[in-house]
């Protein structure tokens, strides 16, 4: 028998598929990673069955030469199933360690079966076990990578959602937008703010945007730079920006820091900025005669 093939493993998977599946699930239970709190028996069964099926069909068609390479087209099915299952498990809060153990647990039933079937040919036994072991290790490592990617995507998504919440662009009037900045403005956030604002300019065909910094705690050189860049980008798009909410204290700081706002229009309050913005787009704010107070 050839030393490099996984013939015996393939045979086992072909002939004893259901047994192997049951014992794999059993091993998962013994390892304490069955998680009946997160998955019903039928869900666990379905996940394990789909994976084992994809694993068996990949093994049949994949090249057994050299290092196991899961990027090979013959493993496309396995990759798809693995991604789907990892996705399901991450969503429900399975840990990275549990996810790897889930895959590695497949070794136990397969090794046991190999030991029985090949007890008379130790060379073949060693060869099959070492190859199979490398296969399943590669498989577990890939699971881990997919797991980490899934987690990163979740983190990114939550970050995006928070960003959107923290930088809402509001339409105040036809062609007038405002973005009230709150808290601290680091480089990452400044970029998100800018992108968000510029996209809204296109969407609303806005001509004036009011960047309100009333809620910004500290204006240092870096924050000032971000504001100037935002204003420059807004101008490049063909709109005008007004920075409002500059308190006397911030004005003093800015002068002390030597920040030159150049030709950018600034106003102390958002109210003053709005009046100017309305004027720019051709409206004026006027009290009507009856309700006008003196």
């Amino acid at each position: 028998m050839s030393i490099t093939s996984l013939e015996e493993v393939l045979k086992i998977l072909r002939e004893d598929f259901d047994d192997i599946l049951q014992q794999w699930l059993e091993t998962q239970r013994e390892e304490g990673i069955r998680r009946p709190d997160l998955f019903s028996d039928s869900e666990s069964y379905r996940q394990a069955k789909n994976l084992l099926t994809a694993f068996a069909s990949g093994m049949t068609s994949a090249s057994q030469e050299g290092r196991p390479n899961l990027d090979d087209p013959s493993w496309a099915d396995l990759r798809a199933v693995l991604e789907e299952i990892t996705h399901e498990r991450v969503e429900r809060g399975v840990s990275a360690g549990e996810m790897a153990t889930f895959v590695l647990a497949l070794k136990t039933p397969l090794f046991m079966r190999l030991r029985n079937n090949l007890k008379d040919s130790p060379d073949a036994l060693v060869s099959e076990i070492s190859r199979l072991s490398r296969m399943i290790d590669a498989f577990a490592m890939r699971t881990n990578e997919v797991f980490i990617e899934e987690r990163e995507q979740i983190i990114q998504r939550q970050r995006d959602e928070m960003m959107e919440l923290s930088t809402p662009v509001v339409q105040l009037w036809e062609r007038i937008l405002t973005i009230p900045l709150i808290g601290t403005l680091d480089s990452v956030r400044a970029q998100e703010v800018m992108e968000n604002l510029l996209n809204s300019i296109v969407e609303h065909r806005a001509e004036v945007v009011i960047v309100d910094i009333t809620g910004v705690r500290v204006v240092d050189t870096q924050v000032a730079q971000h504001l100037l860049r935002t204003a420059a980008a807004v101008r490049l798009m063909g709109a005008e920006s007004i920075i409002s909410g500059i308190s006397p204290k911030i004005a003093q700081t800015m002068v002390e820091l030597g920040v030159d706002v150049g030709e950018i229009t600034t106003r102390p309050t958002i109210r003053a900025a709005l009046a100017l913005a309305m004027n720019r787009v051709g409206f004026e704010i006027r009290a009507n005669k009856e309700s006008a107070r003196d």
Binding site: V202, R229, A233, L236, M237, G238
Partner: protein, 120 residues
């Protein structure tokens, strides 16, 4: 006429839409052609639509800035219109704010401004 763009003359204004992924030679040719047309057509305004441009690097940015300066010397006002948000952010990062050029959201905004200043 260049490959890079078509130039239309409407009521004292030259309208130019630059196509995407323009080569350096094409944009230099455009700059020359436009300079001549400003004089021969007696244009008072130039509107350059760059909404098709996926990227504007320092070279194209510099040509756009120069175009505005050349036009101004020839008594025409230039508007750059339709810049995409990502392009605007990238140009600012490159330190090119085209401060010598006028900008507008769109062709119609630019024409309105030109009319307001009685150039169109």
């Amino acid at each position: 006429m260049t490959d890079a763009a078509s130039i239309y003359h409407v009521e004292n204004v030259l309208l130019v839409a630059i196509r995407d992924n323009i080569t350096d030679t094409d944009i230099i040719t455009l700059q020359e052609e436009l300079s001549h047309r400003i004089v021969s057509d007696g244009a008072r305004g130039v509107v350059i639509d760059i909404s098709a441009l996926e990227i504007v690097d320092t070279f194209v940015g510099r040509i756009l800035a120069q175009l505005s300066s050349i036009a101004r010397l020839l008594a025409a006002e230039t508007y750059i219109v339709g810049m995409r948000p990502a392009v605007a952010m990238t140009l600012v990062e490159l330190g090119m704010d085209l401060s010598g050029s006028r900008t507008a959201l769109s062709l119609s905004h630019a024409l309105r401004s030109l009319r307001a200043s009685r150039l169109a």
